[in-house]
Point group: C2
Chain length 311, copies 2
């Protein structure tokens, strides 16, 4: 979700629902996934040719990424993925090789995360390829939401930030960065582990860039956050090849890393959990009273997206 006024209008129109939540619903629209009282988590994400991937994109990557971005949303609530429902709309004439490679990427990714494709709908498309996956999972501990943080906590991220942005902007970026953009590998085990251990107070996945996503977490948690730009984790290619990595790290998105907050007193426990899971965890700042999401000593650079360039 970007701060596209058109997109905001659509979301507001569809969620302007005066009906009371039913007893079984813990969180409806607005978080990374819908959460039910029984621990079920549900999400949906679409990938559209010409918007989210180009005509010459590797269809295996498209299938794998569709599973990854949905699982990333589930993991941000602490859920382990279980099932997927696919909608696939394809132009005439059918490109069977595309379908085979896409299916291979999707099914393999689902298999690796121990999730099953349980159904779907396939239609013709008079326009671009359109693939949408709904995914459901189960939270083991208390579900993580964007709204549980409070002032005085630590702000953490997994992995490096800005690799996908760098690959989008620089076609000569190395394969590891290209992979971050075209076939991301979100840290799916961390959200469930944080939830089970009761370590995180709030969490969300980084899909629209730290500046936008942290602002949403702050708004949902009714607190502010101050980030130290020098602490933002950066791949060596990005730091060596881009004079100013910051716009890549905070302004683009598609990182599919986990952003979360945790009490200061649990700092060592968080690091230990990262060690157990083989994940790089970086404390990038702290939550404060009000003031939204801020960078220490400077303004956020302008955000940019592939949406505004393609759509």
């Amino acid at each position: 979700m970007n701060e596209d006024p058109g997109e905001s209008f659509v979301i507001e129109t569809l969620t302007r629902n005066t009906r009371p939540d039913p007893g079984w619903l813990l969180h409806g629209p607005g978080d990374d996934a819908a959460l039910f009282q029984d621990g079920s988590a549900l999400t949906v994400d679409a990938m559209v040719e010409g918007i989210h991937f180009t005509q010459d994109a590797d269809p295996e990557d498209v299938g794998a990424k569709l599973a990854a971005v949905n699982a990333s949303d589930l993991a941000a609530t602490g859920a382990k993925p279980m099932w997927g429902l696919l909608t696939l709309s394809l132009p005439n004439p059918l490109d069977q090789d595309w379908v085979k490679a896409f299916a291979g990427g999707l099914l393999n990714a689902l298999c690796e995360m121990n999730a099953h494709l349980v159904g779907g709908d396939t239609t013709r498309s008079p326009g671009p390829i359109h693939a949408s996956l709904s995914m459901g999972g189960q939270v083991v501990g208390n579900p993580l939401t964007r709204s549980g943080s409070s002032p005085g906590e630590e702000v953490w991220v997994t992995g490096n930030l800005g690799d996908a942005a760098a690959a989008f902007k620089h076609s000569d970026a190395p394969p590891s960065l290209q992979k971050a953009l075209h076939s991301p590998n979100p840290p799916l085990l961390l959200g469930p582990a944080l939830s089970e251990a009761g370590l995180a107070t709030a969490a969300m996945d980084l899909s629209d860039g730290l500046a936008r996503d942290l602002s949403r977490l702050c708004a949902a948690s009714d607190c502010g956050a101050v980030i130290d730009p020098k602490r933002l984790p950066c791949s060596s290619w990005l730091s060596e090849n881009c004079a100013d990595p910051l716009p890549y790290q905070v302004g683009f998105g598609e990182d599919y890393q986990l952003l979360f907050t945790a009490p200061k007193t649990r700092h060592e426990d968080v690091l230990a959990l990262g060690g157990q899971l083989g994940l790089q965890l970086t404390q990038i700042g702290r939550t404060v009273c009000g003031g939204g999401a801020r960078l220490a000593g400077q303004q956020w650079p302008p955000s940019w997206t592939h949406f505004s360039e393609n759509a």
Copy 2:
């Protein structure tokens, strides 16, 4: 699902999965909805501009029909709808009036069936409007599937057949038939009631026409069926205005009526249940040993779809 060779290829490629079903899955792809051991039912259906609706279609009808066709799939398994997840892809510039009317139709239809929109994803579309809804529900009794019938049972349908086909073919068809095509009203209470009462042995919703759909039920149940064409329920407009109503009644689809089988001994119970729910139920034939789905005394007329005309 039509017997489009392209569509069959896509479905086979995506379901050619050698992984064993997990313990929680009762029925995966192939039935009207996926069924879990805990009674959950899941389905997804998309509507694409230029394929399932025209550019000048009433957006309120598009939203309402999207909810109806998904709920029809759930009801055919005996499930009552609970939640929906929406993917909506819209071209630039955004038509706010279209969005408002679509949302009104969708949310009102969900409200009437006591279901809640719990999340979604909205994207830009470089092509047509694309709307996909995943819907989940709960089965109260034993879930209904396509595979539970056996020879010697009665074959039943709800409502009239062919109204949507007539409206598609004849622009002068009266409003009630236009409504059947553009804003269908599936008998959502019957499936759950049949399931709870243990009255039906197999069921599915009629989306692709009786000829194709009954063939699928027969194949899944490993039996045949003989249908009496004179018994097929028909609206008065169709019988008065079309010299041969049969191709409309069996060959087009979009009826969104319920097709089910029940033991002969429960004939009166079935009629009584229809009476309680205010539904027209017609016994149109019987199941037999093998031979697929047949019409008594004649061949099935050729099937036709709006897909082959538009896509």
